[in-house]
C-alpha cells in the first residue's frame, strides 16, 4: 500500500490537568481504518488519561477530537460508544452470571411485538449474538453462562460486545496482561480479523513482543507529552524503549557469566523432594543454594504459581519432603514459612500482596511485625526508620511514607512489596512475576535489585513468563509445563532451548 489511509479518529492538541499534575499536554493521535495502533509509555506517561479523554470518562480541557472529519466531544463512555468508540478494559467488565448472549446484547435486547405479548425476544437475542460471534469467527455456546468460559474467552466476548455496536474505533486497554502466549495468539487472530474488516484499533500494552507482533504503528507518550508516532517496521526495540524512557537503558548489572561461581557448600537453603499436591502440581524436585537465583519458566497454568504456593505454605503439600537449611520442615501456613526465613511476593500484587488502603510504611513493616507477633510492636518511629531506609534503597517514588500504597504506580507498588520482604531479611525470596504490568524502567531496577540481593547471599526463586528475563539473570532455569517440572537448564542458556522445552518435551 502506498496511499496513507486517512484518519478515522483524529485528536489534536489534547490537554488535561489534574490538581498538581499536567496529565496530558498537547497530545495528538491519528487512528486509521484497518490498522492496529499501539499506545506505549511508562506508567504515568499519560496513556490512561488519553484513553479517559477519548472515551469521555474525563473530557479534555484543550484540543479537538474528530471522528470521520466531524468534531465530537464525548461526555461519557456511553456517549462515546454511541458515537462509535468502544473500549475494552483490562478487567472484563461483563456480568459473569449472565449468558454470553445476554452479555453481548445487554442494554439493547430485541423486543417482541406487543401483539405477541411484548417483552424480550430471547430467541432473537440468541440468534443475534450468534451472528455477532460468527462474524468474528468465534464458536461459543451463546446460552452458556459467561463465567463458565475462561477469562480470555470472556475478554473476546467483551470485544464482540464492543464491536457489535457498530463501532468504528476499538480501544483495548491492556487486554493481554492476564493472558498466556496461546491466549494472546487467539486474541491477536481476532484483532487481525477486525483489522481486515476496517476497524481502527488502539492497543495499550506493556509487552514489547506483542507490539511488534500486531501493531502497524506506535504512538509513544512520555510524562504526559507526545514523543512521536512511528511505523512499527521502522522503529527498533532499542529505539522504542529509548523513546519511552527518554534515555538509553543501562544493561542489567550482571549477566550470569560475569558472576562469581555460587558456592555449593553446606546444605541447600531449600530442598524439595517430590513435593506436590493433587490437582495443583505433580511431585517436583527442587534445590536452591545460598546466593543462587533459580528461575522457573512456564506459561500461565504450568504450575509455576502453584509450586510457589506450596513452598510458602499457602497450600499444603500432600506428598514429598521439604528441608529448609538442612532441617526437615512442614509448612502449614505462610507464618511458618516466614519464621524459617522464606518470603513470597505473590503474582497478584493488588489482591494477594498489598493492603492497598494502608500506608507505604505500614505495608513495608507488615511482614516483619507479623513475624514478631503482637508484641513487641514496632513503634511508629522504628517503622519510619525501616521504611525510610528501604524506600531509599529501592528508589520507591512516593509522596510520603504515609501515602496509601494504592495511590502509587504499579512499579512502585511492586517495589513496596519487595521492600516488605527485604525488611524481614529472608534467606529465600520467592518472586512470582515481579515485573508484570510495570514499566520498563522499574522492571530494570527490580531486576538489578534481585541480582544485587543474590550477590549478598540471598537465594532467589524467580518465576516469570518472560523467558528472556529468566535466562538472563538466573543460575539455573526450571522449565514447567502441564503442572510438572519438565527440564532443568543452566543459566545463560539459549532462550530457544527454554521455548522448545515448553513447547514439546
Amino acid at each position: 500500500m502506498t496511499a496513507v489511509p486517512s484518519c478515522v479518529l483524529q485528536a489534536r492538541g489534547l490537554g488535561r490537568s489534574f490538581p498538581g499534575v499536567r496529565a496530558l499536554d498537547d497530545v495528538s493521535l491519528c487512528l486509521r481504518a484497518g490498522e492496529v495502533h499501539a499506545l506505549m509509555g511508562q506508567n504515568g506517561a499519560g496513556k490512561s488519561t488519553l484513553i479517559k479523554v477519548l472515551t469521555g470518562v474525563c473530557p479534555a480541557e484543550r484540543g479537538t477530537i474528530e471522528l470521520d472529519g466531524a468534531a465530537i466531544e464525548p461526555t461519557s463512555p456511553l456517549h462515546a460508544q454511541r458515537l462509535g468508540l468502544s473500549t475494552v478494559y483490562q478487567e472484563v467488565n461483563l456480568c459473569p452470571n449472565l449468558s454470553v448472549a445476554e452479555n453481548i446484547l445487554a442494554g439493547r435486547y430485541p423486543r417482541r411485538a406487543w401483539w405477541r405479548g411484548g417483552g424480550i425476544d430471547w430467541a432473537a437475542v440468541n440468534t443475534e449474538a450468534q451472528r455477532v460471534l460468527r462474524g468474528l469467527q468465534l464458536d461459543l455456546e451463546v446460552t452458556r453462562q459467561l463465567s463458565s468460559y475462561p477469562v480470555p474467552i470472556q475478554q473476546m466476548v467483551a470485544i464482540a460486545r464492543a464491536t457489535s455496536v457498530s463501532a468504528r474505533v476499538l480501544i483495548l486497554d491492556e487486554p493481554t496482561s492476564s493472558l498466556d502466549d496461546g491466549e494472546v495468539k487467539q486474541l491477536f487472530a481476532l484483532l487481525g480479523r477486525l483489522r481486515q474488516q476496517g476497524m481502527a484499533i488502539l492497543f495499550v500494552t506493556h509487552f514489547l513482543d506483542q507490539v511488534y507482533a500486531i501493531a502497524d504503528r506506535i504512538t509513544v507518550l512520555r510524562n504526559g507529552g507526545l514523543v512521536g508516532e512511528y511505523r512499527t517496521s521502522e522503529l527498533s526495540r532499542g529505539a522504542l524503549i529509548a523513546a519511552m524512557v527518554g534515555r538509553e537503558l543501562a544493561p542489567v548489572v550482571a549477566s550470569t557469566s560475569a558472576r562469581p561461581e555460587v558456592a555449593r557448600e553446606g546444605p541447600p537453603v531449600m530442598q524439595a523432594r517430590q513435593i506436590g499436591r493433587k490437582g495443583l502440581v505433580h511431585p517436583t524436585d527442587l534445590e536452591i543454594h545460598a546466593g543462587e537465583i533459580v528461575g522457573v519458566a512456564g506459561l500461565l497454568g504450568s504450575g509455576r504459581t502453584e509450586l510457589a504456593r506450596l513452598l510458602f505454605g499457602l497450600d499444603r503439600a500432600d506428598g514429598g519432603a521439604l528441608t529448609v537449611n538442612g532441617a526437615s520442615a512442614q509448612l502449614d501456613s505462610p507464618a511458618e514459612a516466614i519464621a524459617l526465613g522464606i518470603a513470597l511476593c505473590p503474582e497478584e500484587r493488588k489482591t494477594e500482596g498489598l493492603v492497598l488502603d494502608l500506608s507505604v510504611r505500614e505495608n513495608i513493616v507488615l511482614a516483619l511485625q507479623a513475624r514478631a507477633g503482637l508484641v513487641p510492636a514496632l513503634s511508629v518511629k522504628e517503622q519510619r526508620v525501616i521504611a525510610e531506609r528501604l524506600v531509599k534503597a529501592l528508589g520507591i517514588r512516593t509522596a510520603s511514607l504515609e501515602t496509601p500504597v494504592g495511590q502509587l504506580s504499579g512499579g512502585n507498588q511492586q517495589k513496596v512489596l519487595l521492600a516488605r520482604w527485604l525488611a524481614t531479611e529472608p534467606r529465600l525470596l520467592i518472586l512470582d512475576e515481579p515485573t508484570r504490568g510495570i514499566d520498563v524502567g522499574a522492571k530494570q531496577e527490580i531486576m538489578n535489585e534481585i541480582v544485587a540481593l543474590a550477590r549478598r547471599g540471598m537465594s532467589v526463586l524467580f518465576i516469570s513468563a518472560e523467558i528472556e528475563e529468566v535466562v538472563r539473570i538466573c543460575d539455573r532455569v526450571i522449565v514447567m509445563r502441564d503442572r510438572r517440572k519438565v527440564r532443568e537448564l543452566p543459566g545463560g542458556c539459549d532462550e530457544h532451548a527454554v521455548f522448545e522445552s515448553i513447547a514439546r518435551h
Partner: protein, 353 residues
C-alpha cells in the same frame, strides 16, 4: 471570608471522623433539653450523681460493651448477630450459678456458688459462644451473618433450657452492685464499659493488633500472605465479642435482678450494629473507631430516653425511634449533606465546586 487559619481549623474539625457522631449526640441532647428542661439537670442523691444524663450513661453501658466487641468483629469483615442471644445465655448461667431464694429472711445473702464463680462462669460461657461463632466463620467458611444466625436463633432456646423456661429471679444482693451500684458517684456499669474500651484501645495501639486488624479488614488474603495469623486473630475477636456480651449480660441481669431467656438482650445485636455504624465504622471492614462506637451507643440510649421523657405513647414508641434513627442516619450521610448543601446554595457562585 474567614482567614485561612480559621478556615483550615474549621475544615479540620469538619473532616475529623468523630465530628458528625459528636455533633449528632450534642444535637440530641439539646433537643431533649428543650423538650424537657429537666433533662440536663444533674443532682446528688444518696451519695451519687443522679439525673437523666446519669441514667443514660448507666443504661448505655451494656450496649457500649456489646458494640465494642461488635466493632472489632466488623473491622475484620465479620458480623455477630447472636450477641443478644449470648446475653440471654450468659445471664441465665449467672442467675443459675447464684441461685438463691427468698424463703427466709437470711437467704438474701446466700448464693449457690461464690460470686466470683458465678461471674466467671457466665463470662466463660459467653466467650465459648464467641468461639463457636468464630470457628463457624473461619474454619467452615460460613458467611458471618449466617454463621451467627445459628446461635441467634438457638441461643434463646438454650437460655430457656438453662432457666427451665422460667424467669430466674436473683435474690443475692451483692450481685446487684454490678448494674445498680455507684463508684465515685458514677454508675459502676459505666466503669466496666470504659475499662473494657480502654483495655482494648491499649491493645490496639500498644501492640500490633491495630495494624493486623486493619490489614485483615482491608485485605484478608494479603494479610495472610504477609504472615499475619489472620484466622487466629479473627477467631479471637469473635471470642472477645462473646466476652463483651457476657459483661453486658452481668450488668443487665444485675440491673433487673433476674434472667429472662426470652427477653434479655432482645434486639441488642441490631442496636449494636447501629451504634457501630453511627460511630463511623465501615461495614466493609478495615476502617473502625472505638470512640465513635461509644458515642454511637450513647446516641442510641439518648434517643431511647428522649422518647420516654417526651411521653411518647408506648404503642408508637418504635415508630418514633425508627424515624429518629432515619434522621440521624441522613445527617451522617456525606451524600445527603452534599445534596442539602447544593439545594441551599443553589445559584450562588462557587457553590458547585
Amino acid at each position: 471570608m474567614s482567614t485561612p487559619s480559621q478556615g483550615s481549623l474549621l475544615a479540620r474539625i469538619n473532616a475529623h471522623a468523630l465530628f458528625w457522631p459528636v455533633a449528632t449526640l450534642v444535637l440530641l441532647l439539646v433537643v431533649s433539653a428543650v423538650a424537657n428542661p429537666g433533662f440536663l439537670r444533674i443532682g446528688w442523691f444518696e451519695g451519687h450523681l443522679s439525673g437523666n444524663l446519669i441514667d443514660v450513661l448507666n443504661r448505655a453501658a451494656p450496649l457500649m460493651l456489646v458494640s465494642i466487641g461488635m466493632t472489632l468483629v466488623i473491622a475484620v469483615r465479620g458480623l455477630d448477630i447472636s450477641v443478644g442471644a449470648v446475653v440471654a445465655i450468659s445471664a441465665a448461667v449467672a442467675a443459675l450459678l447464684i441461685g438463691g431464694s427468698m424463703s427466709t429472711g437470711d437467704a438474701v445473702q446466700v448464693s449457690r456458688f461464690p460470686l466470683g464463680v458465678a461471674i466467671g462462669g457466665a463470662l466463660v460461657v459467653a466467650a465459648l459462644c464467641g468461639l463457636w461463632n468464630g470457628l463457624l466463620v473461619v474454619r467452615l467458611g460460613l458467611q458471618p451473618i449466617v454463621a451467627t444466625l445459628i446461635l441467634m436463633v438457638a441461643g434463646r432456646g438454650i437460655a430457656q433450657l438453662i432457666t427451665d423456661g422460667q424467669i430466674l429471679t436473683i435474690y443475692y444482693s451483692p450481685y446487684f452492685y454490678i448494674g445498680n451500684g455507684f463508684l465515685l458517684g458514677l454508675p459502676f456499669a459505666l466503669f466496666i464499659a470504659l475499662l473494657t474500651a480502654a483495655a482494648i484501645h491499649l491493645a490496639l495501639t500498644h501492640t500490633a493488633l491495630g495494624l493486623f486488624v486493619r490489614s485483615i479488614g482491608i485485605n484478608p488474603v494479603a494479610a495472610r500472605v504477609a504472615g499475619v495469623r489472620a484466622r487466629l486473630i479473627t477467631i479471637s475477636l469473635y471470642v472477645f465479642c462473646g466476652f463483651t456480651a457476657g459483661l453486658a449480660a452481668l450488668i443487665i441481669s444485675s440491673n433487673v435482678k433476674s434472667a429472662d431467656g426470652n427477653n434479655a438482650g432482645q434486639l441488642m445485636e441490631l442496636d449494636a450494629i447501629l451504634a457501630v455504624t453511627l460511630g463511623g465504622t465501615s461495614l466493609a471492614g478495615g476502617r473502625f473507631s472505638l470512640a465513635g462506637t461509644i458515642i454511637g451507643a450513647l446516641i442510641i440510649q439518648t434517643l431511647t430516653s428522649m422518647i420516654y421523657s417526651m411521653g411518647v405513647p408506648p404503642e408508637v414508641n418504635l415508630v418514633v425511634k425508627a424515624l429518629l434513627v432515619f434522621a440521624v442516619m441522613l445527617l451522617q450521610s456525606p451524600d445527603f449533606r452534599a445534596s442539602v448543601r447544593r439545594l441551599v446554595f443553589r445559584g450562588e457562585p462557587g457553590a458547585a465546586a
